[in-house]
Assembly symmetry: C2
Homo-oligomer: 246 residues x 2
């Protein structure tokens, strides 16, 4: 059988949000996007939370769009002065931030009359030249796709609606199979042998996460691999290891 | 009165954690650190969530330690093979990862006997050359401070214990005063006038965060400034603006 090198799809997430950095708002988008990508066969490689500052958005976008297959941004696409995501991303791409006719049509349909769309609302119809719309079911303001960059809302409910709409359209690799084992021993006890198992199974990524419960220490071991057989063998070895200490 | 230029203290946070990127674990550390810094007069400028990969840790550390007064890392300081934070940070600084005698003493006190400290546990006593200890009340493994980089645990309870211990020792600027106003109107309605208020008050940073509740749209407005008088004046103008639309 010919061995085909797996194509791995990488993603980066940029959270644009002073409110997260100031501690005012607890981010809910990282976990949702990380979990959804993981389950779909796309690997989230890095997340950045940055301020609503044009220069920082440009730097992060240009760094990420070169490194990853998909870049997602959340936040900063509303009508107010602090919503500077699309104009900053246009600059990152070196294109104009232009009136997107499809987005304008949505606003026009919603408000019924051009006069009801004030200059601030009108900003929500501007996107980097060459962008496609990302619809959502919650609010009227759309997100945008510019090449491999997906510009999403920051409000979790709206972000999810947009994200769920685009996820099926993305190319994906094989899903990383995952096994979770609750070892009721401190990780220091099993660590030396665990290292040996990790060294033996290159196809498996073993994560070790300590926890503390009622004054006793335990460890959650997470084994991940695209190779189900290797994963099964690794699991047996880890379970045998734990038995020796419990 | 002589005007003294405010010294602003900037911080960056690096979350080292495959478990966050895979969506397995929801991060709890960003919100805690962001909120604590904000209340203390230190500005959190950027957060990165990166994988447990040496090269990525080195890049992030060297980028952040040049840009910020304080860099905090969470995760990867336990005894297992996937705990590579201290050795990676040592490389970022171009120093050796050496046995820290104070950390070793803690382990020795706890386990009572050198023989009980296996090679994996011993790793927890290694830190970049020239590091100082950061104690915690929960587990025995300490964090470390290397110049302006604070190496903390990933388990939230332990991270908090370490963070709370170091926060009083840091130099801080003036605390950003903050006022929050719940405007029960969609942000698009008030956006044009809000922009004018923002343009008038350079000392205030106005954030606008839409929300959706029972099918009606509202906006939380957050005004932040070190200047209390400007903040009060800004608040009055914002409240007057909202009145006109409710």
């Amino acid at each position: 059988m010919k061995k085909i090198k797996e194509r791995i799809y990488l993603a980066g997430l940029i959270i644009i949000g002073n409110e997260i950095l100031s501690g005012r708002t607890e981010d809910k988008n990282i976990a949702y996007i990380a979990n959804s990508l993981s389950k779909s066969g796309i690997r989230l490689n890095e997340v950045r939370v940055i301020a609503d500052i044009e220069e920082e958005i440009i730097l992060a976008i240009n760094n990420f769009r070169d490194r990853f297959d998909y870049v997602f941004t959340t936040g900063g696409i509303g009508p107010t002065h602090d919503d500077i995501t699309t104009q900053s991303i246009a600059k990152a791409f070196g294109v104009e931030n232009v009136l997107n006719q499809d987005a304008y049509k949505i606003l026009l349909d919603y408000y019924g009359d051009r006069k009801k769309i004030n200059e601030s609302r009108m900003r929500m119809a501007y996107a980097p030249e060459g962008s496609e719309l990302i619809y959502n079911n919650i609010s009227k303001a759309p997100g945008f796709k510019k090449e491999n960059v997906f510009i999403l809302a920051g409000v979790p409910k709206i972000m999810r609606s947009m994200f769920d709409a685009i996820l099926p359209t993305l190319k994906k690799g094989r899903i990383l199979n995952s096994i979770e084992i609750n070892a009721k021993v401190p990780e220091g006890v099993i660590a030396p042998e665990l290292t040996k198992i990790q060294e033996k199974y290159h196809e498996i990524e073993i994560g070790s996460y300590p926890y503390y419960e009622n004054d006793s220490a335990g460890t959650i071991l997470v084994l991940r691999s695209i190779n189900k057989e290797a994963l099964k063998n690794g699991e047996i070895e880890v379970l045998n290891l734990i038995k020796r200490f419990t």
